[in-house]
């Protein structure tokens, strides 16, 4: 096979060893439907390395206690590990202070927090929120809810046929009524990497703050919120090899300090009487209720894991693998790639002949190959391309050219069924 012969070239130019990384992920050792698992759905959720699984397990075996209140040894240790995890997140995205990091359930909750807390106090009828045409539903619906309750207007910056944001159009839509810009750092359905630094500079030139949805970006490239100068950055742990149910929201201190609480409850207060409640300082003001301590510690472990491998090395390897996969898939007769931006990461969306993606997904599954099929929670993206669904193969550091070859072979089976 043509694709298979090209494989060694990847290992020659990259210092990163995916086979060694693969060994860190217990789930990848299993067989699915009698075949070695080929996991190409990391954009939905990534697999977890042993160190993350152990960190969560160890926490419950040795430390479990509630944080920020007990005077006993376990509570002190849990609090210390929880706050260490916050410091790891700070370092991971180069935020100025650990207090600028709010633990949330994931990207979705981070965006909802900003929409509700920032939005409710600063957005009024007639104001505008600007998003892009390639957003995940999580970066559309929270703003629609805000617009419904305030009478604000949601505006959408367009993209071209390759799935690239039209930067000039975007700039022309920034106006005196724009209160906030909310953009995907990397599109989950198309893989497009947005030129966020440039877009942020354009918004800031008009005094408009910017939120980035970093869910797809953090496992694939180095994120530096100071260099980007973004106002908010939300991401999920589970897409970057951490546990499900934990994520983080970075906010610039000037915003977080002035924003009202998102939810009420324990941990977010200083004192409560029936007449008046005093709120805790940031970030605790935004962390009502007992947090997912084990999740935060697991996320910290995932950050250590990525740092150990080197995010730049990972990005370099994945870039080569994406190139390899793009060429291999484009060479399959009848395959049409959806999303061909010049700057891409991790994601290949495609169609083949007139076979519906759902049927392709079922047949690939029988070969032990996990891909996502459907609209990828980005129905407006599908609509722009005039389609209902795509097959999405998404890559992570543990994928190899062999996985891509298996996918290409799987597509041959699809052709057999639908010949």
């Amino acid at each position: 096979m043509r694709a298979a012969r090209e494989a060694p070239a990847i290992r020659a130019v990259s210092s990163f060893d995916p086979e060694q990384a693969r060994a860190d992920f217990p789930i990848l050792k299993q067989k699915v439907r009698g075949r070695p698992l080929v996991y190409l759905d990391s954009a939905a959720t990534s697999q977890k390395p042993k160190c993350v699984i152990d960190a969560v397990s160890n926490y419950y075996c040795t430390t479990n206690a509630n944080v920020h209140r007990g005077v006993h040894a376990l509570s002190e240790s849990a609090t210390e590990q929880f706050e260490q995890a916050r410091e790891k997140v700070r370092r991971f995205i180069n935020a100025p202070r650990a207090e600028d990091i709010v633990f949330v359930r994931g990207t979705t909750e981070g965006i909802n927090l900003v929409a509700q807390s920032f939005g409710r106090t600063r957005v009024r009828g007639g104001d505008e929120i600007l998003i892009s045409a390639m957003e995940h539903h999580s970066n559309i619906v929270p703003w629609q809810l805000l617009c419904e309750s305030t009478g604000a207007v949601l505006r959408v910056a367009p993209m071209n046929e390759a799935g690239e944001l039209l930067v000039d159009e975007f700039e022309s839509m920034l106006g005196p009524k724009t209160r906030l810009v909310a953009l995907a750092h990397i599109s989950n359905a198309l893989g497009t990497i947005n030129p966020v630094r440039q877009l942020i500079a354009m918004a800031h030139a008009r005094g408009i703050p910017v939120l980035l949805d970093g869910a797809q970006a953090v496992p694939h490239l180095k994120v530096d919120v100071k260099a980007l100068d973004c106002d908010f950055y939300a991401f999920s742990g589970h897409k970057m090899f951490g546990p499900m149910g934990i994520g983080a929201l970075f906010g610039k201190a000037e915003w977080l300090e002035s924003m009202p609480p998102y939810q009420g409850g324990g941990d977010m207060i200083l004192s409560v009487t029936f007449e008046k409640t005093l709120y805790n300082r940031v970030p605790y003001k935004f962390e009502a209720g007992t947090p997912d301590v084990a999740g935060a510690i697991g996320l910290g472990s995932a950050i250590d894991y990525l740092a150990g491998l080197g995010i730049e090395q990972i990005a370099g390897y994945e870039h080569e693998l994406l190139d390899y996969a793009t060429r291999a898939l484009a060479a399959v007769p009848g395959v049409r790639l959806v999303g061909t931006a010049r700057q891409k990461a991790s994601v290949i969306s495609f169609l083949m002949d007139d076979v519906h993606p759902h049927d392709i997904g079922t047949i690939l599954d029988r070969e032990g190959i996990a891909v996502r099929t459907g609209h990828h929670c980005a129905q407006p993206v599908m609509r722009q391309f005039g389609i209902d669904a795509t097959v999405r193969a998404s890559l992570a550091l543990y994928n190899t050219p062999k996985d891509i070859d298996a996918l290409v072979a799987g597509l041959e089976k699809v052709k057999e069924v639908f010949q």
């Binding site: 759902h358 047949i363 639908f418």
Partner: protein, 151 residues
């Protein structure tokens, strides 16, 4: 290729998905009902014309996966000329076949051409695809005219 895959995508199923029968509009139908499968984006519009209790004409339009299209095609081919009660009973049997499989109370032999979709029982994620058209028909039979969603 695995045998359950071959059983799911039998030639007759692929043929119905490629060349769906009764894939058209009906002039002045008595019922027009839309069906959606939000999970995979299948959507169809079902048109039905009754003559008293009998399904005089039935057709559909829409887009979706091979299973949902083939199922809609076979359903229209099978239910045309049947009474409402017969169509209801067919759905009950068909649904039992695709959810409970060969060990269930309904055997493929009982269902004639519809039996070609019996392989769906090995693919739980695809049951919704196969039953979308039928749920839509049930809504048309009940005369509610309400859109149907499998979620």
């Amino acid at each position: 290729m695995s045998s359950d895959l071959r059983d799911l995508y039998q030639e007759v199923v692929v043929d119905h998905s490629r060349h769906p029968r009764n894939f058209r509009k009906i002039d002045r139908p008595d019922q027009t009902v839309q069906g959606f499968n939000p999970l995979c984006g299948d959507k169809l519009t079902l048109y039905v014309k009754f003559n008293d209790q009998v399904i005089e004409d039935i057709s559909f339009e829409g887009s979706g996966c091979a299973i949902s299209k083939a199922s809609a095609s076979m359903m229209t081919a099978t239910t045309k000329g049947k009474t409402k009660a017969e169509a209801e009973e067919l759905f009950r049997q068909f649904h039992t076949l695709i959810t409970e499989g060969p060990d269930g109370p309904v055997k493929r032999e009982q269902l004639g051409k519809l039996a070609a979709l019996g392989g769906v029982s090995e693919f739980p994620a695809r049951v919704k695809c196969a039953s979308l058209a039928w749920h839509t028909l049930r809504s048309a039979l009940e005369g509610k005219g309400e859109a149907v969603s499998t979620e």
